[in-house]
């Protein structure tokens, strides 16, 4: 399990427990965290769970797949630390991780 902090675009932050193996997209939806939609259900097929990963965590969340890269390419506000939350899976190694949401999902 990991405590994950989700920061909305307006600065509101919420920290929730996400069980091991559960994606950060599911962790948000399951806990009513706003700002993540997850329309495709977790297949890296829609880019509506776009988040920015805080410094220092990128090395712990696995590499970006070709499909995730293709979807992020078309997302608004793509940055170097952009990821799809459905492709990040919780584990104790991510305890304390912070992700920030873009202004809107598209």
């Amino acid at each position: 399990m990991a405590k994950i902090t989700y920061v909305e675009f307006n600065g509101n932050a919420r920290t929730v427990d996400v069980a091991d193996g559960v994606s950060l997209m599911e962790g948000a939806l399951g806990n009513g965290v706003r700002g993540i939609d997850g329309d495709c259900g977790g297949n890296a097929a829609c880019a509506t769970c776009h988040v920015y990963v805080a410094d220092g965590w990128t090395g712990k969340i696995g590499a970006i797949s070709d499909m995730e890269e293709a979807m992020l390419e078309l997302a608004d506000g793509r940055e170097a630390n952009s990821r799809l939350a459905c492709q990040i899976f919780s584990s104790s190694a991510l305890d304390g991780m912070v992700v920030t949401m873009p202004e809107t999902q598209h």
Partner: protein, 443 residues
């Protein structure tokens, strides 16, 4: 047994006019008769591309059987009309095809994104019918105008236009909701997005209808007439382009954005036309039919309508449910670039593969109680009406915003809208929608 692969175009070209279609031998083609027949018909004898199944809204009976009995199914009748096609009907398989753009191509030159091949004598390249990398470059040029942050600027304008349309509706008399609300609102919105003269906005509707019209239907334009009409559209838009291309800065409209963006400013005329058609159709039929469908579904499900009236905060999730339930584009098509295996079936290079979103959105394996219209589902956004992967609808946020504002304004104004007759449906396996829906708002 006939080949279970799409006939190659060079060996079996589809000739115009199309040969007569093989239809089941039935006393009539009413919804009742077709519905009964579909319940037990041999699957191989059903060509679900036939408009009769869409005009009568009986296609769902067939898709339920496909999902259960033959989730990857080849249609090998009427091949002289469409060369044969695979139907993919389950959510998970549709997702797999939509995600695999390296194998399943959208390229216009292979036929494009609809069951019937794009007219190869009149190819209009558009990014929905392109593969990577060119697709990405052109899509990114259009993306910003329909991003959430840009749409915030449009919200008050959309609301104003919606209020005007609703306030002008007749009271105490029967009128066509499709014409007075659905078309009126979407054409105003398109004219706004293109900064096209509002007084000529119905031209946009007309061009959209011509673009997607099934050329074999009675009264349809001939190939030549259709081409001439679309060239006329191009000419009008070239006029707007020429007015705007020399502005020092692009304005906020789509024509300006295309004329100024390095990725699109040197587009050949046919490509400009293709992208215009894409944006006009994309913003027209889809939203129009979801506007009509929404009223129909809420009327058919009075308990849901009551739920919405007592809790208008449900508008957003109701809008997602309306879009799922309507699925205004019934399918998207791909062409296999290589031999591949899809859920145990050999798909050969060149085969047409149809992703039936209308079926995936009713797949019991993915959505609980999918045939029920429920405005407060747990995950209302998880539907496939916008498609998935790199070709996912670019205008989805705009569509949702338009529908959300519409229903907010309807709830504020009308205690009752009576639907007085069954709708007349569009006879098309692509655009799933309504020609008319007669209603009456009490005086």
């Amino acid at each position: 047994m006939a080949s279970r692969h799409t006939l190659p175009r060079d060996e079996s070209p589809v000739e115009w006019p199309l040969p007569p279609r093989i239809r089941p031998n039935l006393p009539d083609y009413t919804a009742a008769t077709l519905g009964d027949w579909l319940k037990t018909a041999p699957l191989d004898e059903v060509d679900i591309a036939d408009p009769i199944y869409w005009e009568t809204d009986t296609n769902g009976i067939f898709f339920k059987r496909l999902r259960d009995e033959a989730p990857i199914h080849f249609t090998g009748i009427n091949t002289a009309r469409h060369r044969g096609y695979w139907s993919v009907s389950r959510w998970a398989d549709i997702m797999a095809v939509d995600m695999n753009h390296a194998v399943f191509s959208s390229d216009a030159h292979l036929g494009g994104i609809t069951l019937f091949d794009m007219d190869q004598d009149f190819i209009m390249p558009m990014f929905i019918a392109m593969d990577q990398p060119k697709h990405d470059v052109q899509r990114k040029a259009v993306n910003p105008i329909v991003s959430g942050s840009n749409l915030a600027a449009f919200e008050s304008l959309i609301r104003e236009r919606t209020q005007e349309v609703l306030d002008s509706l007749p009271r105490g008399e029967v009128f066509d909701w499709v014409d007075k609300v659905s078309i009126e609102l979407t054409s105003r919105m398109l004219a706004t997005l293109f900064d096209f003269p509002q007084e000529h906005r119905r031209k946009l509707t007309y061009w959209s209808d011509i673009s997607t019209q099934d050329p074999e239907l009675p009264g349809a334009l001939t190939k030549e007439e259709r081409q001439a009409t679309l060239l006329g559209m191009l000419q009008e838009f070239m006029g707007l382009w020429n007015e705007r291309v020399n502005d020092p800065e692009p304005k906020g409209d789509l024509v300006s954005m295309l004329a100024h963006n390095p990725a699109t400013r040197d587009m050949p005329p046919m490509e400009f036309m293709g992208n215009l058609v894409l944006l006009i159709v994309g913003g027209n039929d889809t939203t129009r039919n979801s506007i009509t469908g929404g009223l129909k579904f809420l009327t058919d499900n009075p308990a849901e309508f009551a739920k919405l009236r007592s809790n208008p905060a449900l508008v957003e999730s109701a809008v997602s449910e309306i879009i799922r339930y309507q699925t205004p584009l019934a399918h998207m098509r791909r062409t296999a670039l290589e031999d591949t295996i899809l859920a145990g079936h050999h798909i050969r290079k060149g085969d047409k593969v149809i992703m039936w979103y209308a079926s995936g959105n009713r797949d019991e394996r993915a959505i609980e109680n999918p045939d029920a219209f429920i405005i407060d589902r747990d995950r209302p956004r998880q539907h496939m009406a916008f498609g998935f992967g790199i070709h996912r609808c670019v205008g989805n946020r705009l569509a949702e915003l338009q529908l959300k504002i519409l229903w907010e304004e309807i709830l504020k104004r009308f205690d009752s809208i009576e639907v007085v007759a069954e709708p007349e449906r569009v006879p098309s396996a692509f655009v799933r929608g309504y020609k008319s829906l007669m209603v009456r708002i009490p005086a």
